[in-house]
């Protein structure tokens, strides 16, 4: 499925943000890729939805650049193209639902941060805490049922593993900018199974050459 005539540009800010899973997927896919950090907000009108990340796929066969956006859409496209999502529709959907749940947790976090009204803030905080707990329970059960190998499904690196790693990178590294003590709050909630997943993903032969600007997530969660 991978072609040596294809290369990618990922357009985003020079931060971990919401793009780490895409960076890891591009690295794990073994394709040629670079990153661009467009002048912002000057380059806003030049992006399909006025936002980033944006993925540009270039081919040497003369076809026009293929451009897509929306972080989870970029992840699914790369995962399907390079074999990290199963072709079986049910198996793929079971992985995708985890990513959507993680998106919901992120939305609750940002809602809570943006809220200035103390009552609403507290309500969002309660919802965030509850959904994060649900997420951790779901992830931990899957990891246990899969033999506690640090993999959510099957026996090789999957889309679900990568986006889970990316999610915790967003929460613990990116969101530390909004909430200074977030590592102290979230780390105790992580189960050993999740800590193992983080370590297994980071040290996977396909991923290990990715040097995140966020540093080692495995080091953060096991310290």
């Amino acid at each position: 499925m991978s072609s040596s005539n294809v290369s990618y540009t990922l357009r985003y800010f020079d931060i971990v943000g919401l793009a780490e899973s895409s960076r890891i997927l591009l690295t794990a896919a073994g394709v040629e890729w670079t990153e661009e950090h467009p002048e912002w907000p000057q380059e806003k009108p030049n992006q399909p939805h006025g936002r980033m990340p944006v993925l540009v796929e270039k081919s040497t066969d003369g076809s026009p650049d293929f451009v897509i956006c929306e972080s989870s859409n970029i992840e699914r496209y790369l995962a399907r193209t390079y074999g990290f999502l199963p072709t079986d529709l049910k198996q793929a959907a079971l992985q995708e639902q985890l990513r959507d749940l993680m998106s919901d947790v992120i939305v609750l976090f940002t809602s809570q941060v943006q809220c200035k009204n103390e009552e609403d803030k507290a309500e969002f905080q309660t919802k965030f805490d509850g959904l994060l707990e649900t997420l951790i329970n779901v992830q931990t059960k899957l990891l246990k049922d899969n033999g506690n190998t640090g993999r959510l499904f099957g026996n090789k690196l999957s889309y679900a593993d990568i986006v889970t790693y990316g999610f915790y990178m967003t929460m613990l590294v990116s969101f530390a900018g909004f909430k200074a003590d977030i590592v102290d709050v979230i780390k105790p909630k992580l189960t050993p199974e999740i800590v193992k997943l983080i370590s297994v993903v980071e040290s996977d032969p396909l991923v290990v050459k990715h040097k995140s600007r966020g540093g080692s997530l495995a080091a953060i969660v096991s310290a």
Binding site: P48, H49, G50, R51, F66, I68, C69, E70, S72, N73, R76, Y77, R80, T81, L89, K90, A93, L94, E96, Q97, D100, L101, D104, V107, S111, Q114, C115, K116, N117, D120, T134, V138
Partner: protein, 224 residues
Amino acid sequence: MLSGSDTVYVLRYFDVIGRAEGCRLLLTAANASWTEEHPEWPAEKANQPFERLPVLVERSNGNEWILCESLTIERYLARVFGFMPTDLKQAALQEQMADQQADLLSAFFAQLTATGDMKSKQIDEFNTLFDRMVKEHGRILSRSSSKQHLFGDQLSYADISLYAFYKLFIVYLKCYQSDIAEIVKSKLTPEIINLILSIEKEPQLAPHFSKCDTMAAIFTAKDF
């Protein structure tokens, strides 16, 4: 079609348009055997895999399979029933529209709940994103040959998702903000209104409108 004729679906959700309209429309357009359940809430919360709704239950040959998350359910049904292109690039172009719509829904709630200085900032953000999305819908439509579908000449996931989105904003969200329907209607172009009304005339969707109103009566001559 990748679903056996003995497969039945149950969509569990609240008895509102909410986040499930895309799922309902897909099951209807697919002519699937399906019913809806409205679980007692929050009594049934702990019995759902993610403690949330919607949930899709698929029953076939005595087996039961369960899926959560409205957008994952939509993409799964769209693929099973042939509304999503099999070409990965074409599928991604449709999926990103649904993701953009989800961003708009988040932005709606952000501006609704904002207070103080954040309120006008969030309202501006919502308006900017919405106007940009309408422009994008228009751009895609201008490249479509039929003008009654976003891609190709048949009902696709993108059409169904777009219809559900506009129905959400024009028919449902007034329960949160009374003027949102008028605000959104004023942003729509005649081409987009024509697309919305064409989608709801699709024969595959006819059974849906035996249970609820079309939006035709909402758009008067002066909207075009």
